[in-house]
Amino acid sequence: MAELEAPAANPELKELVVEASRALALLDAPRLEELAVSCEALNRNLDSMDVGEKRELARQAREAQADMSVLRRVLQVTSANRNVMRRLREMRERRLEYDERMIREAAGGGAEAEDADGHN
């Protein structure tokens, strides 16, 4: 499989982090997947960086730290929201199952009565 090319532009780490928080707030999954690909490419390039590039990345990392705290918190609230939605879905599924059971019970009761009638 061909390696994905690094993005043409070189956004600073801070911009990547802020963009990730924004995309997550908007539930922009395609954009987040693009950012993940960019981050993977950047991660692969770490070993081949020269001293100057590493120093530059270290500066960017320091500047992005506060925004990483924001991303961490947005992830946490997203996780909580996801749990709410999952529970909501489970509740609905249980309700549907309950309704079907009720229907089955009602149908079973009717059948028994019919059988009894039939036998009679």
Binding site: Q60, A61, N81
Partner: protein, 473 residues
């Protein structure tokens, strides 16, 4: 027994149902831009089958009304997150105003707080200058001028904080009447809903109640409890009853220790409201925690500078050979009796520059040793075990950290509200998305964002280790 008219009835019923369905769709489109409107979907009820001879024939469907596609669990989660976002947003605005008072370089003669950090440095530097020529009148005047700038900026900042507190207090009072108006409306809607739709969704009435609940959630922290017959009880997050079905309890205000307190049924619930969320929670936290905290730090700074500088000046000899006494002290600043209120009251009381005691007691008028001692106060641990500049610097840093922390919380909470609104819109509003795709969007976004976060975390840790040769925990 089935007849030909029964068969016709099936077809007619189906047509009627289709028409009702169209009416509901038309209603959705017409209300697409109505705030709080929830999409209604037609409810179809299967009619009892008709027996024709030994064969059962279905009797079609009858449209039995329309049910709003709302989900109370999601709506309550949204309300809860709005309460948090609203509180942090209100608090953040107040904190930004506080921080602006102490932002370096914001100071000019018209600025309320000026630049206190520079003022402190300039003030003690003026004693260093005086050391070089202890009898020089211009240098003595420079000391008083620097002292006056420092005192003016500290007292100006304190005044601004007090004014901000008063303005917030007024805003908070206004929230109480908005809360009362909304709880009254909700109680009235409860009665109407219980009367008209005790067993089913009340459609537009329910929409209106949800809209009012959403507005109320932006004002204060609340809990909702569904009661019989589709009614609703509302309490504060600490459990004090605000609405019980058709009745509402009015929030009242009263002045306690110079600020507005909030009462419910005679009980002061100000502390609970401050911790509960919503705008009111944000206002009260700013008024009762953030502003008093900043004022206390300023008071301590003003108290320590004033008492230390006065004490040092009183231990020396002024240009006329006089030494300060209890009856006739040589105070540069007004001497504070206690820490509280020192910042607002800070001012220069000395008007005659010759009263600056540059000489040590008995040192003669040309002596500069007390001026040296006063300049050395800059490096003395005179404010709670810290130097004045370090104390002020730590105060500003702590304030900045608080602002940053609240900013982070606010961003995260707003993100949460945005996400929930997206989910809720997909479920409740006139929207082509369905619940499954909304859930899938949330799951996919979370998974991708987790991956981005992990990768960024790895990159940043590696970058800091490689770039600075410093280990990152």
């Amino acid at each position: 027994m089935g007849t030909i008219s029964s068969a016709l009835s099936i077809a007619t019923g189906a047509l009627d149902a289709d028409q009702e369905g169209l009416n509901v769709v038309a209603n959705n489109v017409a209300n697409a831009n109505t705030p709080g409107y929830t999409e209604e979907k037609p409810d179809w009820q299967e009619n009892a089958p008709i027996t024709v001879g030994k064969v059962q024939v279905g009797d079609g469907v009858t449209e039995t009304g329309a049910t709003s596609q709302r989900d109370r669990v999601l709506e309550r989660r949204l309300d809860q997150q709005q309460q948090l976002a609203s509180a942090s947003s209100t608090r953040l605005t107040a904190l930004n105003d506080i921080q602006a008072l102490f932002t370096p370089d914001s100071g000019s003669s018209s600025s309320t707080a000026g630049d206190i950090g520079s003022d402190i440095t300039s003030f003690f530097d003026s004693f260093s200058s005086l050391e070089t020529n202890a009898t020089n009148n211009a240098l003595r005047e420079q000391v008083l001028s620097s002292a006056s700038t420092l005192a003016g900026d500290i007292s100006g900042a304190a005044s601004s904080l007090n004014a901000q507190s008063a303005a917030i207090d007024q805003e908070a009072s206004g929230v109480a009447s908005q809360v009362n108006s909304l709880t009254s409306a909700i109680a009235q809607l409860n009665l109407e809903i219980e009367s008209s739709s005790p067993d089913a969704d009340a459609g537009t009435l329910e929409d209106q109640r949800q809209l009012d609940l959403s507005k109320l959630s932006q004002l204060i922290g609340i809990n909702q409890v569904t009661t019989e017959n589709n009614g609703l009880s509302i309490t504060t997050t600490w459990g004090q009853l605000l609405v019980s079905e058709g009745q509402c309890m009015q929030l009242t205000t009263g002045t306690v220790n110079g600020v507005t307190d909030f009462f419910l049924g005679g009980t002061d619930i100000t502390l609970q409201l401050a911790a509960g969320g919503g705008q009111l929670g944000g206002y009260l936290t700013a008024r009762d925690v953030d502003i008093p905290g900043a004022l206390a730090s300023l008071d301590q700074l003003a108290y320590s500078i004033s008492t230390s500088v006065n004490a040092q000046n009183n231990s020396g000899t002024d240009l006329t050979g006089a030494t300060g006494t209890v009856a006739n002290p040589l105070n540069i600043f007004n001497e504070p009796a206690q820490v509280a209120g020192s910042a607002a009251a800070m001012k220069v009381t000395m008007t005659d520059p010759s009263q600056i005691a540059a000489a040590a007691a008995g040192g003669g008028t040309g002596d500069n040793s007390n001026a040296v001692a006063m300049a050395n106060l800059a490096s003395g641990l005179i404010v709670n075990g810290q130097t004045t500049i370090n104390y002020y610097s730590n105060f500003v840093s702590t304030l900045g950290a608080t602002v940053s922390e609240v900013q982070t919380e606010n961003t995260a909470q707003n993100a949460s509200v945005t996400q929930l609104q997206t989910e809720n819109n997909a479920l409740s509003s006139v929207n082509l998305n369905d619940e499954a795709s909304a859930m899938s969007m949330l799951e996919n976004s979370y998974q991708a964002a987790s991956q981005v976060f992990t990768l960024l975390n790895t990159i940043m840790a590696a970058a800091l280790n490689l770039g600075d040769q410093t280990a990152v925990a």
